[in-house]
Each structure stands twice: as C-alpha cells, then as structure tokens.
Amino acid sequence: MKHLLATADLDRAGATQLLDTAMSLQQNLLGKQVRKLPTLRGRTVITVFYENSTRTRVSFELAGKWMSADVVNVSAGGSSVGKGESLRDTALTLAAAGADCVVLRHPASGAAHRLAEWLDGTGTAVVNAGDGMHEHPTQALLDAATLRERLGDLDGRRVAIVGDVLHSRVARSNVHLLSALGADVVLVAPPTLLPVGVESWPVTVSHTLDAELSELDAVMMLRVQAERMHGAFFPSAREYARSFGLTEARAAALPDHAVVLHPGPMLRGMEIASTVADTPSSAITEQVRNGVHVRMAILYHLLAAATEEDET
C-alpha cells in the first residue's frame, strides 16, 4: 500500500488486513503501562487540514504519537496555506521538508488524489482524511472496525446508511467498504439527498426508514447540515426528523443486537434522539476509540515497511 486515498481502492483482503492490524494494535496496547510503540521512530507525519475537524486530527495525531512518529499539524489558519499558497506548492514544500506521510483534509473532492500525483516519486505517503464529498476512508474503516467488534464477520449483515448521502464522503466510503466486506447496504434518504447515478452503486435504496428498521444489524446516521435546507433538499428540520431521525420509537423497533453509529459531531434531536445516542446500542464512543487504532494500522502499513521505491 502506497497511499490510502479511497476505500474504493480496497478489496476484501486488503480491508480485512487493515482491520486485523487495528485489532492487533488494540490488543497490543491493552493494559499496557506505557502506551507507546517505537515502531515509527524517526518517521514524520504531517497533518494538513483545510477544514476544521478536531476529532479526526486528534485521532491521527494520537495514532502517530503512540507509534513514536513525529507529528506536525498544519492548519489552514496558521500557515501559508491560509495565504493563498496552492495545494500543489504546499505539498511539495512538505515533501521537501521530509514528510514521510501527509494526512490531508480538504474541501475539494479528489484533493488527496492530486496530492498523491504531485508527490509521486518523493516516497511520501498520502492519507485521505476526507476530500470534499468524495471519500473519508479512515472513518469508514473505524466504522467497520466497530461493527466487527460488535457483530463479528460482516458477511450478510444488513447496514442502513441514513440521511444526506448526496453530500457525504462518509457514506461513499462506507458503501464501498461495507460492500467489500460482504455486508448488504441500504441507503435511506429522501430522493433529494441521494446522488443521481446511485442506481449503479452496490446498494439498495429506500425512502422509508420505518420499513427497514426490523431487518437491520446496524444503522449509521449521517450528519445533516442545516444549511442544506437553503438548497431545498428538504422542507424543514422538523419534517426531516419526523421522517429520517432515529427517534426513541425507531430505536426500539431495531433488533436488540443492532448497532447505532454516527460519524459525529451529532445534531442531537435532529438526526438522532439524545436518549438513543446514549444507549448501549450506540457505539459512538467505541467509534472514537477505534479511530485511533485504525489510523495506527494505516500508518503502520504505509510507513513501517519497505516502500516500493526501496524495493526496486
């Protein structure tokens, strides 16, 4: 693995290997007095975030630090990034400064792909930490790690992804990954929040959440941004919550073993009832914990081995 740009690039074996590594790392760190592995000593990881995301950035930072990498955080506000320097120039600067890995969060779909192209030949690995509406592969991997922890093998498991699929990079990454892992994915949203062309995705589509609940092993509630109402994607927050929110009644209609996921940050009351977010079926805190282990696994696979350049 040279970069991690999209879960669409992962097959079942590759995804399983990453998830197994994450699980081993979790086991490895369990009960340890010192939560520090020397594995990435001397390697430099630079996180570059053009959008704010405390959760994802901290998770990557911890992942790097627990493996003894030097982690440098660059945010759009505090650097030449904010002064209009092009992404390409920023990328080349970071590579020249000795980054072994760049973790990129960017509002443009495909930004991580472009970065990987610009860095081709420098040996710098790129991890996509969310690009526009395209993918957020590490989020999908941590979701899958969480589901595997709760449900075991995902083969044949039915997972609903509910909400703003159209604008969601989390949804795209999860569709690819969960399908690769053998799960049946059902997208639940009003037609306005589903992309044109969704017919070609390996999913089924539903516009009625209530009809799906009793068959689900897991439900993933996507974040709905209030500003979407201005684009007339749905009439009001109230109507959205009434049709697609995970209310207490809907949570009760889920099978007992069903897992509730949310990529966070949550809009309690709109996407998910506050009481539901705090029940045992909710895996939201496990998602955060698994996030670090999954990202450690990714850094391990990208940085703790001979690169392709070294081998040739």
Binding site: D20, S24, Q27, N28, G31, K32, Q33, K36, M67, A304
Partner: protein
C-alpha cells in the same frame, strides 16, 4: 499474507538441506530444557519463583507451549505461558514488505514481579531478543527476564546470551537454520540450509 515459510517447502534446484536435529532430537532437547528451567527457577520448591513463559511468534510461541507442557509433566507445576509479538519493536521493519502483526497473549496476572522466560526458536544476531525486551518492558516490570532458545547458531550482533540453549549449532553466517515444528510445519526437525545464490531470504538471517 502468510508468514514466510521457514524452509518447509524448498523449491527445486536449491541444495538439499541437511538435517541437524531429527524429530526425536527435538523432543529430547525440549525435555532437557524443561528440566533446566525447573532446576534454575527452583519450580515446585517453597522458594520457587513465579514463572511465565512468553514465546515469540510463530515458532517460539509453539515452543513455549511445549515447554510448559513438559514442565507440568516433570514438576507438576502449571506454568502460565503466552505470546509476545515483537513486530512493532523490530529495528528492521523498513527492510521488508509490511509484516502482519502476530497475536499477543500475556497471561492473566501480567509480568510484574515475575520471572519471564522469553522463548524463541533460533538465536542469531540477538536483535529479536532485544526487540522482545523492549516489548516486554511496556507490559510491566518483571523481577527477571531469561531467554530460552532451541538453537543458538552464533553470530551475535548484540551483547545478548541465552539462559537455556537446546543445541549450539556452529554455522557460517550465510547459512540458514530452519526450525520445523509439528504444529506449524507438519513435522519436527532442525535443518541447515547452505547458501543458494543471491536470493537468500530465509528468516533466520533477518532475526
């Protein structure tokens, strides 16, 4: 990714490996090591230390289990055993394709204030033992750490010495010693493989 084979299936055209220890030799050697452990740690006596065996995957883990079994038969004491994955502590990760992580099972009760015996199949450069010491250190503070190996082939690169050696096997540096174990390889044996061209990738050299 399957762990690299340690000589179970050599491809044609390579020199035939020489069998240094037969299956019977291996069994006898492990039994002798079990007696040495009992003696050195005074197992079964009132002054006995609290002993834990930690095998280094893959074959060290198998050996630890066998040692524990022999010790129980000979002394009546059940010694807890587990595995210690050292992959994340290796200093040669960047010389190889990604290594899959191995299971990690430290027995209940941890390692604090116990005598930990690290078990590996072959002692060569000493780098695996060094990585194992680092890995162990983050699980706690053992009272003492000892090292048991089935075969010591020399060529140390670090000041490391085994407390229990099944068999000393003088070898040339470019030779390769392969330990085969029933549970992993289908039979017990220790083989000496002569150098074969420039694609020598035996794991013993990478120890």
């Amino acid at each position: 990714m399957a762990p690299p084979s340690r000589g179970a299936d050599r491809t044609a055209g390579q020199p035939a490996p020489r069998e240094l220890l037969t299956a019977d030799d291996v069994a006898r050697t492990i039994a002798r090591m079990a007696h040495q452990v009992i003696e050195k740690t005074a197992l079964g006596s009132p002054a006995a230390s609290d002993v834990v065996l930690l095998g280094i995957p893959t074959r060290g883990a198998t050996l630890a289990a066998r040692l524990a079994e022999r010790i129980a038969i000979f002394s009546g004491v059940d010694v807890p055993y587990g595995t210690l994955d050292i992959t994340l502590y290796r200093d040669d990760l960047r010389n190889h394709p990604t290594r899959p992580l191995e299971p990690m099972e430290v027995p209940g009760g941890g390692v604090d204030d116990r005598v930990v015996i690290l078990v590996d199949d072959v002692l060569f450069s000493g780098r695996s033992a060094r990585a194992a010491l680092d890995a162990l250190g983050e699980h706690g503070r053992p009272r003492a750490v000892q090292l048991a190996v089935l075969a010591d082939r020399g060529h140390r690169e670090l000041p490391i010495r085994a407390d229990y050696v099944g068999k000393n096997l003088p070898t040339a540096r470019d030779e390769e010693v392969s330990v085969l174990l029933e549970e992993v390889d289908g039979r017990d044996a220790v083989l000496l493989v002569r150098p074969h061209g420039d694609d020598a990738t035996g794991e013993a050299e990478q120890e």
